[in-house]
Amino acid sequence: MNEPLSTALIVLAVGMITVFVILSLVVFSGNIIIRIVNKYFPETSINPSSVSKTPIINTDLDSSKMAAIVAAVDVITKGKGKINKIEKS
């Protein structure tokens, strides 16, 4: 077996082992974190005051209210206005 090929085979072995180990650790440590947090910090948010300052993405105004707002803007703008972003407060 020539040298490059044996290198490639070792990289294959080490690579797949490492990927499996790391993703196993992701699963494992993730579960540990969830358990510890569930046990010791089940409810408290890290910064109580920041509950009202969630980051600007993933606003989850439920869809019915969003629809209502969109509709309201729609009425005024006759369908040409677009709501960019509504932040939860």
């Binding site: 490059p4 090929l5 290198t7 490639a8 085979l9 070792i10 990289v11 294959l12 080490v14 690579g15 797949m16 490492t18 990927v19 499996f20 180990v21 790391i22 993703l23 196993s24 650790l25 992701v26 699963v27 440590s29 993730g30 579960n31 974190i33 969830i34 358990r35 947090v37 569930n38 910090f41 089940p42 409810e43 408290t44 948010s45 890290i46 910064n47 920041s50 300052k53 969630t54 980051p55 600007i56 993405i57 993933n58």
Partner: protein, 401 residues
């Protein structure tokens, strides 16, 4: 006449006649623009790459990236000397790409836009992001057999990681001369995921398997731990993961460490919103422009029009397909032993190409069982596939770099 001669000399016609391949490169640029604009294949990357090709291929513009060699010695000039002697595109390329700076910065932005929530809620499935890296290493071996150096073969294989910045980062370090075609192949095949995944799935998964309904399985065999305080978990997770990765695969820290940092500043919320904004917008968008234009500018007729490019196009496809199949067979193997079955599509999304792979998997599942909404499940292996290919890149760099 004197003036007309000087006028002609000023134009690029002379160079065009000397290297007619330039015309082919123009056509490739137009083709990429068509794919990016009209077909909407990854327009954020393909449009700047294509425009970079357009700007670079008339040498008089001094906008083509010049490979460093022992004669020009570019990689050892100062940036000011590079700009003076080789133009601003080389300056940007050597400062931002050759140094390997932009991919980690883009990974920081990717992290700031990634939500680990779906993965944390179906943590077990994250495991299948590992099997879907097999394409990387299979193609590595195939390419070595075809006569590529191990470095080139590794850069070729990483296309199978289905992650643009990871592919670019690995190519910069292992085989900078192949950067252009590798980037094009990576982004094109990512855009083609809606074609490639169904193809592989049709060849490898049975109708019965496609009907495995993840939600019903969850009800039949309930065993998941409910997360009581998602916010804290999401903050602790990137910190712990960064520590483990730094310890076990240090060479993937520039990618994964930055991704997890971006994710952390997102999850902290308002207190670090300025950092989140910089990571996910300012730095990210500027990095994307410069990455695209300079990668495009590496693609001149001399460097692009050769059989290696064809091998990359072919090998890249192979790597994609084998990765998808790898994920699928990992699930099939698991299903042989487990009572609680998993839909093999969850394996296919281990490829990464977030979130398109998950959407495609979801659509396939719904076609066979209209109640089988598996998007959230697919996202778990899909996100873990990003981690998986960054780890694989780290191993490649560590052994071959």
């Amino acid at each position: 006449m004197d003036i007309l001669q000087k006028l002609y000399d000023m134009t690029a016609f002379g160079e065009l006649f000397q290297s007619p391949g330039t015309i082919l490169m123009l056509l490739i640029a137009f083709g990429l623009l068509y794919l990016g604009i009209k077909k909407r294949y990854e327009p954020l990357l393909l449009v700047p790459i294509a425009f970079g090709v357009l700007l670079a291929n008339f040498p008089g513009g001094n906008m083509a990236v010049t490979p460093s060699n022992s004669v020009n010695n570019i990689a050892h000039l100062t940036l000011i000397e590079i700009a003076k002697d080789h133009g601003i595109m080389n300056m940007l390329y050597y400062a931002l790409i050759k140094t390997g700076l932009l991919p980690p910065l883009i990974f920081m932005g990717v992290g700031a836009m990634t939500d680990f929530g779906p993965m944390l809620r179906n943590l077990r499935l994250a495991f299948f992001g590992a099997a879907a890296q097999i394409g990387i290493f299979t193609v590595l071996i195939s390419a070595v057999l075809l006569g590529f150096t191990p470095q080139e073969a590794g850069a070729l294989g990483i296309i199978g990681g289905a992650d643009g910045p990871t592919a670019i980062y690995t190519a910069i370090i292992l085989a900078p001369d192949l950067l252009g075609p590798i980037a094009i192949a990576a982004y094109s095949y990512m855009a083609l995921v809606p074609v490639i995944i169904p193809l592989v799935v049709n060849l490898t998964v049975s109708e019965r398997e496609l009907k495995i309904n993840m939600k019903k399985q969850d009800k039949l065999y309930p065993n998941k731990t409910k997360i009581k305080n998602l916010r804290v978990v999401k903050i602790v997770f990137p910190i712990v993961l960064a520590t483990m990765v730094a310890l076990l695969v240090p060479s993937s820290v520039p990618l994964l460490g930055m991704l997890l940092f971006g994710n952390l500043v997102k999850e902290i919320g308002a207190d670090t919103e300025r950092l989140f904004d910089a990571a996910s917008n300012n730095i990210m968008n500027a990095a994307t422009i410069f990455l695209g234009l300079t990668v495009g500018a590496t693609m001149t007729s001399e460097t692009f029009l050769n059989s290696t490019t064809l091998a990359i196009v072919g090998g890249g496809f192979l790597a994609f397909a084998i990765s998808i199949a790898g994920g699928i067979f990992a699930v099939k193997t698991y299903n042989l032993f487990a009572k609680k079955k998993i839909n093999p599509l969850i394996g296919a999304t281990g490829l990464s190409a977030v979130p398109m792979a998950s959407r495609v998997a979801n659509e396939i599942a719904l076609k066979h069982d209209s109640s089988n909404h598996l998007l959230q499940y697919a996202m778990s292996s899909n996100i873990s596939g990003v981690i998986g290919s960054a780890v694989a890149a780290g191993v490649l760099i560590s052994f071959l770099g």
